[in-house]
């Protein structure tokens, strides 16, 4: 078996046992990343020099008998909206086409300190706005399972890189499904943690009350290993929670007897037959493993999408006001005065989808419409939160599809923003309520494209999600990949 097909924990064990050096692995995976970049566009930057340097340092430490963490020497990649010191961080936008951050994000530093080896920065929808990875200034990303299909967005490059064996794991960010959706479309495992579990310091802000960083990997065990590294308190993010975090690796027991799973029927409205069939089969499998599965109703789901697009666009319009061509990034070449410089810089630097969301958010926050849209959406947010609290008083986990269909064709939905937005029906609620959600490969549908099962749990219950996904992956092969 070629080493790129191993999981992160498997290659880490080989490096630790000195079967192979971290440098050899890094060299091989850099060439895999270059190949993945050429074939699918999953990478914006491949960081060969950094990778070799970091890998050599790991080899030296191992030679000196140091016990580095469980993922030491493992090559990985980071979504291009997460800051890497002196390494291009573009957010998939012309606006940041030349931006080299002067600092590392909290998660970047944590992974480097754990001996993980950075091999590149992954492509994404511009400023993480999109469900198909078709809005990047650096070109769209293709689904490794079928190049005619989208990989999902916005962390499309992060999911495609793992699926194509172009990285052992990656980091993504999830504002309304941006980790779970591409994980589902590409047949890999991705978890969005509880809001506040992972520091957002160094994550370029899209919608600050919804954004959360999380891992995309080949299976739940790898996700748990990455979570153990990145989930920690950080005083540089005032929303990062100063609470005890469990050892996620220890939560991986192969036993879900008595686990109570709620299946909200609203999440199946509009889902394709192939998706329903795969999800139902996976629920049956979980039942056979001892879980108790019951149908429930979450009627407030019907309002989640509208609330999500108002809240996220409003926050985006505010966050993206900082791009004015003064301190970093793109500045228009020709302008008459300061005001003209702002207008031209923003007009030329942002793509169509980003402009549309800034416009929508500015409208929703403007005088006369604030109560009807923004305040109303915040109230609906309270109702959604309450609805989840009620479900989790009786159940451990909520199960649903991640997306109503398998990966759609590239170009299929680009002309109709509402059609593109409504697909996010199953994923946005977790961000609105701040709860964790995981996408677990659970079958193949139309044209043999992967399907993801979404599991959500109450806040801080990532361990329950990882345990359930882990147990499921002990008896299924859907996550085994290309």
């Amino acid at each position: 078996m070629s080493i790129e097909k191993l999981t992160a924990l498997e290659i880490a064990a080989k490096i630790k046992n000195k079967e192979i050096s971290a440098t050899e692995v890094a060299k091989h995976m850099v060439s895999q990343a270059v190949k993945t970049k050429e074939e699918t566009g999953a990478y914006i930057t491949v960081t060969e020099d950094v990778a070799i340097e970091q890998a050599k340092a790991v080899d030296e430490k191992i030679a000196n008998g140091a016990d580095l963490g469980p993922l030491a020497g493992v090559p990985f990649a980071i979504k291009d909206n997460i800051c890497t010191k002196d390494i291009l961080t573009t957010c998939g936008s012309k606006m940041l086409y030349n931006f080299e951050p002067p600092y590392d994000a909290f998660v970047t530093k944590r992974l480097a300190d754990s001996g993980c080896v950075l091999i590149g920065k992954t492509n994404m929808d511009e400023f993480a706005m999109g469900s198909s990875n078709e809005t990047s200034y650096f070109g769209e990303v293709k689904n490794p399972h079928n190049h005619d299909c989208v990989p999902g967005g916005s962390s499309g490059g992060s999911a495609a890189a793992v699926a194509a064996n172009g990285a052992y794991f990656t980091l993504g960010s999830d504002t309304g499904g941006s980790i779970r959706l591409p994980a589902s479309f590409c047949g890999v495992t991705g978890i969005k943690p509880t809001y506040g579990m992972v520091s957002r310091f160094g994550l370029v802000a899209f919608a600050s009350s919804l954004d959360q960083i999380g891992p995309i990997a080949k299976d739940a065990a790898d996700c748990a290993a990455v979570m153990n590294i990145i989930s920690a308190y950080d005083n540089m993010d005032s929303t990062c929670l100063d609470i005890e975090r469990p050892d996620y690796m220890k939560s991986l027991e192969n036993n879900i007897k008595g686990l109570k799973i709620a299946v909200p029927k609203e999440y199946f409205n509009g889902a394709d037959e192939d998706v329903k069939t795969a999800i139902n089969a996976s629920l049956k499998q979980l039942e056979e493993m001892g879980a108790i599965v019951e149908e429930v109703s979450l009627p407030v789901t019907d309002y989640a999408l509208a609330a999500y697009y108002i809240i996220s666009s409003a926050e985006a319009s505010s966050n993206l006001a900082r791009y004015d061509g003064v301190k970093y990034g793109y500045r228009a070449e020709n302008f008459d005065n300061l005001s003209d410089m702002y207008f031209k810089t923003r007009c030329e630097g942002f793509g169509d989808e980003v402009k549309r969301r800034i416009m929508l958010g500015t409208y929703a926050l403007s005088s006369g419409y604030y109560d009807a849209y923004y305040k109303k959406a915040q109230q609906v947010r309270s109702l959604i939160k309450d609805a989840f609290t009620n479900i989790f008083a009786k159940y451990d986990v909520i199960a649903s599809p991640v997306y109503p269909t398998v990966a759609f064709k590239r170009g299929e939905k680009t002309s109709d923003p509402v059609k593109m937005y409504t697909g996010d029906i199953c994923t946005v609620s977790a961000n609105i309520a701040g709860i964790p959600g995981i996408s677990v490969p659970c079958g193949f549908g139309k044209d043999n494209m992967p399907i993801g099962l979404q599991l959500m749990a109450n806040a801080f219950k990532e361990d329950v999600l990882l345990k359930t996904a882990f147990a499921y992956q002990q008896v299924t092969d859907f996550h085994k990949g290309i």
Binding site: S209, S238, L338, I432
Partner: protein, 95 residues
Amino acid sequence: MKITEKEVEYVAKLARLYVSDEEKEKLTKDMSAIIEFADTLSKIDTDGVAPAAHAIPVQNVFREDVVKDSYKRDDILKNAPEKEAGCFSVPKVVE
């Protein structure tokens, strides 16, 4: 609710974006469709419901007020589109 081209012009100005006639037409159509979709919110009764700004309530997080090293000026200026004498340089603001 339908959005007018005039509203699009006004919002674009607030957002510091120039829009061409062609873009204006498209944005008017797209934003109307999205706002009509968002209007489903008006159907749900939220009387007396408190708005939630954050899902996980966190309040007044303070750090100790101690002097620490910050970033070096040259590092911060590294990405400036234009700089002069250790400052970000912009076109003249006051004539």
